[in-house]
Subunit: 415 residues, 2 copies
């Protein structure tokens, strides 16, 4: 008798589906495809020579540490460097406030493990990051979606959701994935105040905060929160768990992210991380430290901002040129994505099939809404990534996509 | 109002405790401590020069891939290499049967996520690997412990446990952690037959199988199972999920393990891995591939076998010389650990306190038993690692430990 495996799967595993983005990644690795689908940084901007130097130094001086098991909380020099770095943005964290994770995605998984019992409600933006919906969904989260606009989460519509007793809120304040919107300063203040008033913690996901191409930096929620909650020794005590990553500034292939939280939360997350993967690669942590140090990462990010701003502008120009006037899109101040809204009656999933025939890819918007919000309305959106393709490919890809959009629009019109 | 975080933790998180091994690792990083506590490979054996060459080649030729996001299932050349490698041991897997994980520990976590509902019974050896108890425990596993002896799991005592309807069995057939025992060929046959008869899948954890210092290689359970379950195209169809890792043969700092399973199980585990960390570091996978290729890893493992065998023998000699005759220990044919049994009435936790004063560390045995088996009997054991310390440190550490054992034994004797 051979096992029928599917009958053995746990309840949580039966509900999980593969992400369309991860599946699209396989298709879009073909060189002939112009892909706006992934959230991929520009591979031509990876500082490969600096990585080579870093590998040489780390392996010459410190192979016995870099190749060995390490502490669950992370490689100490890297944690200290991150603490120094984020302090420049007003986040007064110490090593005790920091956990290194295997990418931000692992932080979401560990937070789900820590906080979510089946049926717990989580407040999310509509739309929101698909990977968070996946990570929390495994633990049985129910979602309470709050609309967002070009200034981010509609905090004026938030209170009724908070009264329903959610476990926490999950928010991307900067250059949101997928919407491209940025939470305004005023709404940040409101959000932190409401979180405090209702006793609902915030998960602040900030992978793109460093990649601002225009406008002024806005204080993180964890900073606004901390100003009210600070203790004399400078530890963070507040209602916010803050996440960031090296994936967009250095290289996603390293799988390095981090969590900033009160020490007792970090200690619990570290216990869960022990069971999940013991610790994140000591080798990649040591390499990232050696690459980033001596101000290299800051200088590198400055270059990224110039290149990505140009690509954003190229995409905005191409959209204006090749897309019909009844289509609208966001104009993000940073990050990697913009968000397109099709005319009523059009479906981005149908458009994708046509686009793939033209060797162009994007992600249909409905997957960024919580399952209970999947609707015809959600299918009117598409997420476009502008960081990965070079300018000429951006123009050509948007041209092809514009042709497909126009063809679909014509089919909708009465004959 | 500031959040009291602990009140927000999910049920599964409240039960989790930090592993004594991970906590000991922090203490034992002090250079003055002779540590037999961790499962650390010998750092002086890491092939640092080969790693340097590999980093240079990968970053020169393939930085755009190695530093970028990758497929959840793993870096294709590495999966193909692993498939070729394990086929030499009779495991006929293809890429579709393989998932690369962030160390074997992540495989245990993903398997727990896939299979375990709260209250599900898992059959484990007594003692067994602590990290598996942690990983499965988070998902609410109950354990059914089956005794083991110098020939591994007592398959003659297994059937009553199988009749109770467990979800799966978790077994380490080779040079078990912590017991050092190896499941005999006859018991392997019995185990696979019983698994088939009762329809209970086996999780076969094999981190040390390559590190055999004497005796003949014994077929893996997944091989014995496959011989009965084979399909013409060579895919694995059976009842066994097989785990292994580069942590003991190459470097644990890479955090690279893998799962071999039927394609539908791999597909499900990959979906769960998406939510857990998107994918394992492309960079470490590309480096591991480049280091291991052209037969390097096989030659390296041959060297490890010589060095570790010598260290095992040094530890066995020192135990015979410095430990009192009422103490017994296993004589492992491979792996990294041996298992010491103290006389009745002695407690390894008390001994550890004394040993730490003498700057020697080990892991008390009780943590390797499922929580419902914690007992005075379980406290009579200690796990000693022999791979990490150099021979002179092994002798000196065992001498000090022997002195501590003798002192504690004297206190137990009637005056």
């Amino acid at each position: 008798m051979s096992i029928v495996w599917t009958s053995r799967y746990a309840e949580r595993a039966k509900a999980v589906k593969s992400s369309i983005i991860r599946d699209l990644l396989k298709i879009t690795q073909k060189p002939e495809i112009i892909s706006f689908a992934g959230g991929l940084p520009a591979a031509d901007m990876f500082p490969a020579v600096r990585f080579q130097e870093a590998c040489r130094k780390v392996l010459e001086r410190d192979a016995a540490v870099a190749l060995q098991y390490g502490e669950t909380e992370g490689y100490a020099p890297l944690r200290e460097m991150i603490a120094r770095h984020i302090s420049r943005y007003g986040i007064q964290a110490r090593s005790e406030n920091l956990l290194i994770t295997s990418g931000s995605q692992q932080a979401l998984d560990l937070i789900g493990k820590l906080l979510i019992n089946p049926g717990d409600r989580i407040v999310v933006e509509a739309p929101t990051y698909l990977g968070a919906l996946q990570a929390f969904g495994v633990y049985g989260a129910d979602y309470v979606s709050v609309p967002s606009d070009e200034n981010g989460l509609r905090t004026d519509l938030l209170e009724s959701s908070l009264r329903s007793g959610p476990k926490c809120m999950y928010v991307l304040p900067n250059f949101q994935n997928p919407g491209g919107s940025t939470l305004s300063g005023e709404r940040r203040q409101t959000l932190v105040r409401l979180a405090d008033q209702y006793g609902i913690p915030i998960i602040e996901d900030d992978p793109y905060g460093q990649l601002r191409y225009e406008g002024e930096h806005l204080a993180a929620l964890v900073v606004l929160d901390r100003q009210n909650q600070r203790r004399e020794d400078g530890y963070i005590l507040g209602n916010v768990i803050y996440l960031s990553t090296f994936s967009k500034t250095l290289a996603p292939g390293l799988r390095l992210g981090w969590v900033v939280a009160p020490p007792e939360v970090i200690a619990r997350l570290a216990q869960l991380k022990q069971g999940a993967d013991l610790h994140t690669s000591t080798f990649t942590q040591a390499i990232a430290y050696e690459v980033a140090r001596d101000n290299f990462l800051d200088e590198h990010v400055k270059k990224l901002r110039i290149v990505y701003r140009e690509r954003r502008d190229d995409m905005l120009d191409a959209l204006a040129r090749y897309f019909p006037p009844e289509v609208t899109w966001t104009r993000p101040q940073g990050g990697l994505f913009l968000w397109v809204t099709l005319p009523e009656g059009m479906d981005a999933n149908v458009l994708l099939q046509e686009a793939l025939k033209q060797n162009v890819a994007f992600v249909p918007g409905d997957c960024f809404f919580a399952p209970n919000l999947h609707s015809q309305e959600a299918c009117r959106h598409l997420r476009l990534n502008f960081s990965n393709a070079k300018p000429e490919r951006i123009r050509e890809g948007i041209r092809r996509l514009g042709t497909a959009v126009k063809a679909q629009a014509r089919q909708l019109q009465p004959a």
